[in-house]
């Protein structure tokens, strides 16, 4: 029966087994408010975000859980902060491997070491390493938990979306299940169906960018070696297993190894276990015992859709934009899409904001995608130089980096993902010149320790007013929204991150923890106006 909807990949975790829905027997297509296609990290996080906001949401995936295999590994601080808001970060942090130290080698020489040395006073580390299936499982666990508390989230496994028809005010979906086809309607459709996005194809939308002419062999090996928990990157390694190589620790004694193989390779041959072992042996030395856990060969591309909103269809995650993995920006940026879209769609569905607010999702996240594509393109060009002269300069940088710290700043084996600042967004309100640039409107709020907790945890799911050494009412009501105020006294971290040289500060903070506007004192009219602007009413 399941042969009707065959698996395209093996599952690591079976999370939402197929169960027949009454919708499948309905005489006319049942209408849902928000429907998500795809239960990867982005779709799951989207469902969780909307469901926690009380928005009824239905997620469809043609599988029944998280796929097995080597994909995302590094999850950035901002992702953990967002997952914390979604109630999923605890287990991620517990299972994930934390690392700060990196080493860069050229040939057989250690060029230098770096320490990510995260700034103190943040709840979360700069990065954790965690296998993608576990990341997805923890999001799913959080869904199960909030659903038990009444969050209206429904997941349907083995529901493959085969056709979409877009009308002005809804979308019709043709779905295939093990019990045959059925039809649904959705007020809003969120396509989180991955880089090959069938929905994007069904709408005939393009996905343009660059393909990098290179193949990467990704091998996850299980070994009890006592290499330190560090990220080791080789350019032109002496062990000749590839043009570059990466070694990175994962949970459960698993190590991620990447080898850059070049463009003209025999894929099938390279994937034969003895050939993979030959490369791994050369790297680890003859005495290290290991098992091959998972191996695959990838080519990488950097591309995006021109627009992420097409009327009632919104694209998020890899369906909207794809980057090479150098810098770990794929899933990390997809989670930021969710963070940006969740509250906006919820306000539109509640009738509190105009539909045009969703155009700011497009503008802000296209900006984010461009930043990610730029960064990962530059890293890829450094790692795999495209011309002889590009390789000449790359190797000159490496040669100097061994001795001269300035050259280390040019070595680019991936600039690790940091959140994007929505400079110039139409949602941004007034700025104040005496306050730090890092918290200007459009920026994500940096965390800070508070007596007995952390700032970001105090911000809550909706809009917030944050005051530092400043007077403001406990609650502000405007435009149908209730905005509670978090009143704080200056601490060294709050001064450095929020107050600057101002005497007092009033911040209007969006539900995604980005700064909407800031002033040095509370003025009800000004705040209400900034709020209107931040929900697309101006």
């Amino acid at each position: 029966m399941t042969a009707l909807v065959p698996d395209r990949y093996t599952l690591a975790f079976r999370l939402y087994p197929y169960a027949k829905s009454p919708d499948q027997d309905a005489a006319t297509p049942v209408r849902h408010g928000a429907v998500i296609v795809g239960g990867g990290p982005v779709g799951l996080a989207m469902a969780l975000d909307l469901g926690r906001r009380g928005v009824p949401v239905l997620l469809l995936d043609d599988h029944e859980g998280a796929g097995l295999g080597s994909r995302a590994l590094c999850f950035a601080k901002r992702t953990l902060e967002i997952c914390d808001r979604l109630g999923a970060a605890g287990p991620m942090l517990e299972k994930g491997v934390q690392w700060n130290l990196g080493k860069v080698f050229h040939d057989d020489r250690l060029l230098y070491e770096f320490n990510l040395l995260p700034e103190g006073g943040h709840a979360f580390p700069a990065f954790i390493n965690l296998q993608q299936p576990w990341f997805e499982k923890f999001l799913h666990d959080a869904i199960v938990q909030v659903r038990a508390e009444g969050a209206p989230i429904e997941l349907r496994g083995k529901n493959r979306v085969d056709a979409v028809n877009v009308a002005d005010d809804h979308v019709t979906l043709d779905i295939l299940t093990p019990d045959g086809p059925y039809r649904l309607e959705a007020d809003w459709l969120i396509a989180c169906d991955g880089a090959r996005s069938p929905v994007r194809g069904m709408l005939g939308l393009s996905f343009d960018g660059r393909v990098f002419e290179d193949n990467f062999l990704i091998a996850d090996v299980k070994m009890k070696a006592d290499f330190p928990t560090e990220r080791w990157f080789w350019f032109e390694p002496h062990f000749k297993s590839g043009d570059s190589a990466l070694l990175h620790k994962q949970p459960d004694d698993i190590w991620r190894i990447d080898f850059q193989l070049g463009w003209n390779i025999d894929r099938a041959k390279e994937l034969e276990p003895e050939n993979i072992r030959r490369r791994v042996d050369a790297m680890l030395g003859p005495d290290v015992e290991y098992e091959l856990d998972w191996c695959s060969i990838y080519t990488f591309q950097c591309r995006r859709m021109e627009k992420f909103r097409h009327g009632r269809v919104l694209f998020a995650g890899d369906s909207a934009h794809q980057v090479s993995p150098f810098g770990a920006r794929g899933a990390n940026s997809g989670i930021q899409d969710v963070d940006n879209l969740g509250w906006k769609l919820a306000l539109v569905l509640e009738g509190l904001a105009p539909e045009s607010l969703l155009d700011s999702y497009d503008a802000e996240r296209v900006h984010g995608a461009d930043e990610n594509i730029l960064n990962s393109t530059r890293a890829t060009d450094f790692i795999t130089p495209k011309t002889p002269v590009s390789k000449l300069f790359r190797n000159a940088v490496l040669r100097l980096a061994e001795h001269l710290p300035f050259a280390r700043t040019m070595v680019n084996s991936g600039r690790l993902s940091v959140p994007c600042t929505y400079d110039g967004s139409v949602l941004n309100g007034p700025d104040h010149p005496d306050m730090p640039a890092r918290t200007r409107p459009g920026s994500v709020c940096p965390d800070a320790p508070l007596a007995g907790g952390w700032l970001l945890r105090q911000l809550g799911p909706g809009f917030r007013l944050l005051t530092i050494d400043s007077e403001a009412p406990e609650v502000l009501s405007a435009h149908g929204l209730t905005v509670p105020c978090l009143a704080l006294a200056a601490t060294p971290e709050l001064t450095a991150r929020y107050l600057g040289t101002a005497k007092g500060a009033v911040y209007l903070i969006r539900p995604d923890q980005h700064v909407a506007a800031r002033w040095d004192r509370f003025d009800e009219t000004a705040v209400a106006e900034a709020l209107a602007r931040a929900i697309g009413k101006v």
């Binding site: 000449l392 300069f393 000159a396 040019m410």
Partner: protein, 78 residues
């Protein structure tokens, strides 16, 4: 602002030193040395706008001269 007026304290010495630095190197070694030298000088200059102007000028050395002919006081903007 990129300096394009004469600025070398000892032009002949500097030029001779540049050539001497390459002595005994193969062509490939010379190219590598040049690349390192450019990177070292780039870091010394530091300012991205100046570097970008220098790169434009290197790519099209006539550009500035042509521009100077039409604008009496030469280019003003960086």
């Amino acid at each position: 602002m990129l300096i394009t007026t004469p600025n070398l304290t000892r032009p002949d010495e500097s030029y001779a030193a540049l050539i001497a630095t390459h002595e005994g190197l193969s062509e490939a070694e010379s190219h590598a040395l040049n690349a390192r030298l450019i990177l070292i000088l780039m870091n010394h200059i530091g300012d991205h706008a100046v570097l970008a102007e220098a790169m434009r000028l290197a790519r099209d050395p006539g550009a500035q001269a042509k521009f100077s002919e039409t604008v009496p006081n030469g280019p003003k903007s960086a």
